[in-house]
């Protein structure tokens, strides 16, 4: 048992554990819609696009971690609505437009951060996360904003479901389709900001799609898919952190690899299971 408890004697491990579980649940629930609506590329692009915002916050505040959350949040919401608006223009294909913007913004972020001498370490935290560096204050931000996300998903459950399954039905029922679409983009944006410290921008898309995709393989009902996805994501957070502690590997990568392992197992089980 000491195997399990030993890491938890450190306060940063306890906070990291709680953060990983909470972020996992939020990403898993929002990620269900990302998977069902085929928005994985959008989620990946959005996460990368916020890097310049974080970089500017980093340069202005001199690297104060807790303030970076707000910079990430602001940039993510603007980027989400911006990408959403660009997607409606027909001049070039949607994925091409998103690709151009996200790579450009990502490069801008790296350029800005590279102006600081000690940039390598900080940059790697933004890219791959630093869940063990979560402060008590950051944890509270995760709790508050994570709750807002989950409550919003619950409040508009039937609207999001209807819109995702059949947009034409949503339109003929006169649901506020544009508002709901933007609300969903906003939810993904806040999720990205909340998850920043846990997995970082480069691995974010894994938390959004991998647990939800694993759940999709195993169930055919949406509430069950959300629940299973949340379970896989929080388990990935916990197991990933133990792996990180004992094998001395980067925490964000360990969490994502665990989530990927769950997916591979579910996928293999689906294949060999007698139909």
């Amino acid at each position: 048992m000491s195997f399990l408890f030993e890491p938890l004697q450190y306060e940063f491990m306890q906070r990291g554990m709680i953060a990983a579980v909470l972020v996992g649940i939020v990403c898993a629930v929002v990620g269900t819609y990302v998977v069902l609506r085929g928005m994985a590329f959008f989620g990946d692009a959005l996460a990368h696009t916020i890097l310049p915002g974080i970089a500017i916050g980093y340069l202005i505040t001199g690297g104060a971690r807790d303030a970076l959350f707000w910079w990430a949040l602001g940039t993510a919401v603007i980027a989400a609505l911006g990408i959403g608006a660009i997607s409606k223009q027909a001049a070039i294909k949607e994925d091409t437009a998103i690709g151009i913007i996200f790579a450009g913004m990502f490069a801008l972020g790296i350029a800005l951060i590279s102006t600081v001498r000690s940039y390598a370490v900080d940059l790697s935290h933004f890219l791959f996360g630093d869940v063990l560096g979560v402060s008590a204050q950051s944890l509270w931000l995760i709790v508050v904003f994570g709750s807002i996300i989950l409550l919003t998903v619950a409040a508009f459950y039937k609207e999001f479901l209807t819109l995702s399954f059949d947009p034409v039905l949503a339109a003929t029922l006169r649901l506020p389709v544009n508002l709901l679409n933007n609300l969903l983009l906003g939810l993904i944006a806040v999720t990205v900001a909340v998850s920043l410290q846990t997995v970082g921008v480069a691995l974010m898309v894994a938390m959004l799609v991998t647990p939800a995709a694993t759940a999709f393989l195993l169930t055919k009902r949406l509430p069950m898919m959300m629940s299973l996805s949340a379970i896989f994501a929080s388990l990935s957070g916990v197991i990933g952190l133990y792996l990180s502690y004992y094998l001395s590997i980067a925490s964000g990568a360990a969490i994502v690899l665990t989530a990927t392992a769950f997916f591979v197992i579910a996928f293999a089980w689906k294949r060999i299971k007698p139909a």
């Binding site: 508009f156 209807t162 399954f165």
Partner: protein, 272 residues
């Protein structure tokens, strides 16, 4: 909360006046004029690309026309949540993680309003709708497990749960075997008793002639509209289809045709 205009009883359920739609520079619909009365059953027939789906989208208020106007019982389509658009089966994501009852309950979203969860009354609506279309035993099935005919029935149940008064069905008979088609057409008879007005887009002229009050022959313009026997004579069909059809002598003296052109691969459903 969501808009729902009162119906003016003296106005037709659907009035389409001088509607034109163009995609880019290409005309999809030109100067469409017609109106329908409550409880009528119309078949919309025409070759692929004739504008059937476009017409339905304009009527349902999802696509605003470039010119002209549509009114539903006296007011704009966007003021009504009583129009049901039943999609072609090929356009539905059948792997979406929902049950039949879930899909039918979606029809209640507007009546429920924001922030409300389904109540007993809504579940009663769903159950009753499923009973009407005779698939109440399939309520908890995942939607990928349905046959083609059952899929159509589910969407009709959803329209009933929506309390639809105008039902627009896009190619509901395509890809179904004959018994399933007949079952669906019988079901439309039941809907007539409920005063639901139905427009069905179809390729099958023989069935259109047999089962519908009026036939609209559409090819961007209305080529002919009226009594099936009068509409389906060869001159009209030539206008609508150009040379791309074969004539077959139908059972009741009606000239029927097969649209010998492209089927758009709509017979590819693995669920039939």
């Amino acid at each position: 909360m969501y808009p729902h205009s009162n119906h003016q009883k003296d106005k037709p359920i659907l009035d389409v006046r001088h509607v034109s739609v163009r995609y880019g520079g290409r005309a999809a619909l030109e100067n469409i004029i017609f109106h329908l009365h409550v409880g009528e059953r119309i078949a919309v027939v025409g070759p692929n690309g004739a504008g059937k789906s476009t017409l339905f989208k304009v009527i349902s208020g999802v696509l605003p026309p470039n010119s002209g106007e549509v009114t539903i019982s006296g007011s704009q389509p966007t003021a009504h949540s009583c129009i049901a658009y039943i999609p072609q089966r090929s356009q539905v994501d059948w792997n979406f993680p929902v049950s039949v009852a879930d899909v039918v309950m979606m029809g209640r979203s507007a009546k429920l309003g924001p922030l409300n969860w389904p109540k007993k009354r809504d579940w009663d609506f769903v159950n009753h709708a499923l009973e009407t279309v005779e698939i109440v035993n399939l309520a908890n099935r995942q939607i990928s497990q349905l046959s083609g005919g059952q899929q159509q029935r589910m969407f009709i149940a959803r329209a009933l749960a929506q309390e639809a008064e105008l039902m627009l069905m896009d190619e509901p008979l395509t890809g179904l075997d004959t018994p399933a088609q007949e079952g669906l057409l019988d079901l439309l008879d039941t809907l007539r008793e409920q005063k639901v007005t139905v427009m069905v887009a179809t390729h099958d002229l023989e069935q259109a002639a047999k089962h519908f009050d009026r036939i609209m022959l559409l090819n961007k313009k209305i080529v002919a509209f009226g009594d099936p026997l009068k509409v389906l004579h060869s001159e009209n069909l030539l206008h609508a289809y150009g040379g791309r059809f074969r004539t077959v002598e139908g059972t009741d003296g009606v000239l029927t045709v097969d649209d010998s052109c492209c089927d758009e691969g709509e017979h590819n459903s693995i669920y039939d």
